[in-house]
């Protein structure tokens, strides 16, 4: 793939990520009727909303208990997903900030190959403040 092609592809991905709200709390809540799910709860944490979903995953005769934590902002955008397997600790499964950063870094590399003015281009990308605050929240909680 040539450079302009992969840049278009990356820009499309950035737009897609920006427009993707992620699985909505209502869709998660509906899952309680599925046999795998044992508990689904929601609460407010300051300016964020937290959904905790517990379910069992069966592989053959082995069962694992999985707890997922979904963090949303006020606009119902999914910001972060944490995952907890059996008795282990919560680990970060996905964060919007990291995902966006990774895409921007790829874009930076691609643009770098063309020798364009990087800071100016990055300056033209919008930033949503609350996405970054999710990290702060973890420190507080």
């Amino acid at each position: 793939m040539n450079a302009t092609n992969s840049i278009t592809r990356l820009v499309d991905k950035i737009i897609a990520l920006e427009l993707t709200k992620g699985i909505q709390p209502s869709e998660l809540a509906d899952a309680i009727f599925e046999k795998e799910y044992s508990e689904i709860s929601f609460k407010k944490c300051g300016i964020f909303y937290e959904a905790i979903v517990k379910f069992q995953d069966m592989v053959g005769s082995e069962i694992s208990n999985i707890t997922m934590k979904y963090i949303y902002n006020n606009d119902k955008y999914l910001i972060k997903i944490e995952e907890k397997l059996n008795n282990k600790q919560y680990t970060l499964a996905w964060s919007r900030e990291n995902a966006m950063l990774a895409l921007c870094n790829n874009l930076k590399d691609e643009i770098g190959r063309l020798g364009l003015d990087m800071p100016k281009l990055l300056g033209s990308l919008p930033t949503v403040e609350s996405f970054g605050i999710a990290k702060l929240l973890k420190l507080v909680s």
């Binding site: 820009v11 499309d12 991905k13 737009i15 897609a16 990520l17 920006e18 427009l19 993707t20 709200k21 992620g22 699985i23 869709e27 998660l28 899952a31 599925e34 795998e36 799910y37 979903v53 379910f55 995953d57 592989v59 082995e62 069962i63 694992s64 999985i66 997922m68 999914l78 997903i81 995952e83 397997l85 059996n86 680990t91 499964a93 996905w94 995902a99 033209s124 990308l125 919008p126």
Partner: protein, 157 residues
Amino acid sequence: MFEKKRAELTSSVDQYDDKFAGMPEHLKNAAKEAIKKAEYDEISKEVDKELIRLRPDVARKQMRETIKSKAENTVSDLLSDYNKDAKGNDLYNKFKYVLPYIKENTTNDGVLVAFINMKLYQKFGKVTDRSNEILIKSISEIDVIVKELRGMLNERN
């Protein structure tokens, strides 16, 4: 940039306006909402992380399915590259020391799949203990294992 895309989506909904002619107003709006949601869902597919748009159990099942089908596909590629019969059992002798639990009548495809699973187990542990992140890594790890398998098959042929 994002606003432009949003506007694009809205106008793509509007282009169906004439199709709704004669439809009661409340149904028209419902139909428009549904189309809009479908358009956004389509865009979401661009984001290659299933976890953020699917229910967690579904995302997990899908990932396990991908691992399984990828292992099966690469095994059938290997078998045809090395001219082995999938249901034969001549690979047993080559692998009996690395895979103690295979039996003399284990078929060739079974031997190779068992080898891939064993390698994944050694590296990442039980499937039930793997997080989403690790499941994704397992998928790409199969390529590494296949290289090793090719080496082994070359070596003793």
